[in-house]
């Protein structure tokens, strides 16, 4: 008997009393009733609580904001599908400072390690928990690029902000490589005291474009 058959057969034997699967009571909240302003306010509050830096700007000002955040960066990476218009302020299209990661020409881990910052979009955000979800779409790129550089600049469109988690997960295809981000990397392993910045990007800048 293979281990697989053996284990499945053990489980069936363990369930000889034929327990019934109950109806799942889904009386928890399925949606929030906040309007856009309230959603943005809540998201900002939560992100700041996690020690992320947040700016709420009109969409037209996103390029300037990105440019100013990248001011001190010697280099930064963007996924190939990132809105080029948003990088207009960096004054560096095709220069050596901006690196583009693409499926056809992915950067090596060592290359990513030498890059100061990364700029990505996002799939959806959850205001109540201060969570930004990346799903590997073209404007977010593969997981490694938003992980290895120490400074992550992430653009969230107001339309992509949901109130609570069930709404957000409802918009995501779970079979994609999904990363849920709530603030910069952190640990509470020493005396339960939260410390921001361990292995993931130690600096998280969120630009909310409305």
């Amino acid at each position: 008997m293979t281990a697989r058959e053996d284990i499945l057969s053990r489980i069936r034997a363990a369930l000889q009393d034929s327990p019934q699967a109950p109806q799942i009571p889904r009386e928890y909240r399925a949606a929030s009733e906040l309007d856009t302003d309230a959603l943005i306010e809540l998201l900002v509050d939560r992100l700041v609580d996690y020690k992320a830096q947040v700016a709420v700007v009109p969409e037209a000002e996103v390029p300037a904001r990105i440019a100013s955040l990248l001011d001190g960066a010697r280099s930064f990476v963007v996924p190939e599908g990132f809105d080029a218009g948003w990088l207009a302020g960096t004054g560096d299209d095709g220069g050596s400072r901006r690196r583009v990661d693409s499926p056809a020409a992915p950067l090596s881990v060592a290359e990513l390690d030498g890059i100061d910052a990364v700029v990505t979009g996002s799939a959806v955000a959850v205001a109540e928990t201060g969570t930004i979800i990346l799903d590997g779409s073209a404007n977010q790129g593969r997981r490694a690029i938003s992980l290895v550089p120490d400074h992550h600049i992430c653009v969230v469109k107001a339309a992509d902000i949901t109130g609570i988690l069930p709404e957000a997960l409802g918009r995501i295809d779970g079979t994609r490589p999904v990363t849920m981000i709530s603030g910069p990397s952190a640990t509470s392993d020493i005396e339960l005291e939260r410390v921001e910045g361990v292995h993931g990007p130690r600096r998280l800048d969120v630009i909310i474009a409305r």
Binding site: M1, T2, A3, D6, I7, L8, S9, R10, I11, R12, A13, A14, L15, P19, Q20, A21, P22, I24, P25, R26, Y28, R29, Y50, P103, P106, D113, V126, E128, T129, T131, G136, R142, R143, L147, V148, L165, P166, L169, G174, T175, R176, P177, V178, M180, I181, S182, G183, P184, A186, T187, D189, I190, E191, L192, V195, G197, V198, H199, G200, P201
Partner: protein, 519 residues
């Protein structure tokens, strides 16, 4: 375990790091003697308790989420075979490879074999209860494969050659100064000027592990959830070490207990609200990663999952204890447990400490394994764990159930019954009749004699000595309530409600006297 071809397999107990090598009271006695440990634990558990309470109070639908979480897990147990097959189909269809392991030894061999196939001799690891349970690191070490823990607390414990004492914060028993000293002693190249500031220590860990992350070819992880309808795995973490391991290496090997399934993607919305608030007391943990088999051009291209039984089928076979498998390893129960708070995790012996460990370990190994039968008694049954459990595992009821399994397992086996056996039998006789209890109570004045002039009993023999080691017993009264009631009643001339006649019906009370008589 032996199986015969063609015979249905019976649920089997697990092996690995699941055993209390010494009885809980013995281990607890030692741990209680460590004042530093108690101070560290008290500080840490109180901090996290308060944080948890605050974020749970924020949610208007916390109880509804708990109800849903509990029902979903109940459904998972009821439908486990079909859900495992569904998960396997979906995970495999997307390029993942599934392995099944009956027990710890089999799981270790599978992992070591997969690492060997890559030609590598080092792996980076994400904190995982399953791999601790099977003793994977030690096994890999024996096989010449170095396993590097990357979670900060696991790193601390590994550097100190210690054992974890908490499932979420494995180094909860150590304070910052002790951790600084470990780093200075064990971390190659540690800055001699290292301070005990937690952020400085976290940075030292970052420096220490950065190279490993960037060059590792193989990672080993556990999983918090597995979604049957999509074949998706999830890891919930904080530091980003998980993302490093799950993203950068070429090969990813995950070890997961068969009970970690959730039926659908939608169910994740329940558990991702329950878990972070219950574990670290945060609205959401910094990072959660989800992967479904292999994604071309993103992350490991060689993805394995080892599905582990190791006693879970045996736990499942216990109808009363089955729901212990609902556990999502949040650690809320240990953070609120007054026993854990004072003894720490090492006293439980097993990988799983605290209230959940006190039921899970004996369920996985069988009550008769080593000293695991002492674990269900490691509780005052105060019920704080049940209230804190996000999936509503009724830990106190299961503790009581396992105590009865323990008592029953010894019936007829002992040559000489224990004092407890004798006492319980005698008490059963005396307490199953009002008449007999009344007779016993006639002996109360004897207790007064024993108490002496200061009206307290300060030393009892045998098992009751445990009581008088730190508590007096008041001198018994001269007369039981029952006796008083009967006499008052006779004086009042009512119906005979004497203690000697249990068949006598309820009787009208006389006006009770209001003063005790000074003795």
């Amino acid at each position: 375990m032996t199986t015969f071809l063609g015979m249905p397999a019976l649920p089997a107990f697990g092996s690995g790091n699941l055993f209390a090598g010494e009885s809980f009271p013995t281990a607890a006695h030692r741990e209680l003697g460590n004042a530093q440990l108690r101070a560290n634990l008290g500080h840490a558990t109180h901090t996290i308790r308060d944080k948890r309470q605050a974020v749970v109070a924020e949610l208007p639908d916390w109880e509804q989420l708990r109800d849903a979480g509990s029902a979903i897990k109940q459904a998972v147990m009821a439908r486990l075979p079909e859900l495992l097959e569904e998960f396997e189909t979906n995970f495999t269809a997307r390029g993942g490879v599934i392995h099944w392991a009956r027990d710890a030894r089999e799981a270790n061999e599978i992992v070591a074999g997969l690492v060997r196939d890559t030609g590598e001799t080092e792996v980076v690891k994400i904190k995982s209860m399953a791999t601790q349970e099977i003793g994977l690191n030690e096994y890999l070490e024996e096989q010449g494969i170095g396993a590097f823990e990357t979670d900060l607390a696991e790193l601390i414990v590994q550097l100190d050659h210690d054992k974890p004492s908490h499932i979420l914060v494995p180094a909860i028993h150590k304070n910052r100064t002790e951790i600084r000293d470990i780093f200075l002693r064990e971390m190659p190249g540690a800055d001699p000027a290292l301070t005990d500031d937690p952020s400085v220590l976290a940075m030292a860990a970052r420096e220490h592990l950065r190279r490993k992350f960037l060059t590792a070819k193989v990672a080993v992880s556990g999983a918090n959830f597995a979604l049957a309808d999509s074949g998706t795995l999830a890891v919930v973490e904080s530091e980003g070490n998980g993302r490093m391991c799950l993203t950068l290496p070429e090969t990813l090997i995950t070890v997961m207990g068969i009970e970690k399934l959730l039926p659908t993607w939608q169910d994740l919305e329940v558990f991702m609200q329950l878990l972070p608030r219950s574990s670290t007391g945060e609205r959401m943990n910094p990072y959660t990663s989800l992967w479904t088999g292999v994604t071309e051009g993103d992350g490991p291209q060689n993805v394995h999952l080892v599905l582990l039984d190791n006693g879970r089928s045996a736990a499942l076979a216990d109808e009363m204890g089955r729901s212990a498998l609902h556990c999502i390893r949040c650690s809320a129960c240990m953070n609120v447990c007054p026993v854990y708070e004072r003894t720490g995790g090492h006293a439980y012996g097993s990988t799983y400490p605290g209230p959940i460990g006190a039921i899970l370990s004996p369920l996985l190994t069988g009550i008769e394994a080593e000293e695991n039968n002492s674990l269900p008694y490691a509780s005052s049954l105060c019920g704080a764990c049940y209230d804190a459990c996000p999936v509503k595992i009724n830990i106190p009821d299961i503790l009581v159930h396992l105590r009865s399994v323990d008592v029953d397992s010894k019936r007829g086996k002992k040559k000489v019954p224990s004092q407890m056996d004798v006492g319980m039998k005698a008490a059963s006789w005396a307490l199953s009749s009002g008449k007999r209890l009344g007779l016993v109570e006639k002996g109360l004045p004897l207790g007064r004699l024993a108490a002496g002039p200061d009206r307290k009993i300060t030393k009892l023999p045998g098992i009751a000595a445990g009581w008088t080691q730190s508590r007096d017993i008041p001198a018994p009264p001269a007369q039981s309530f029952r006796d008083w009631w009967a006499k008052e009643h006779r004086n009042a001339g009512g119906a005979p409600g004497t203690p000697g006649t249990p068949e006598a019906g309820p009787s009208r009370t006389p006006s009770p006297d209001t003063k005790e008589t000074p003795q």
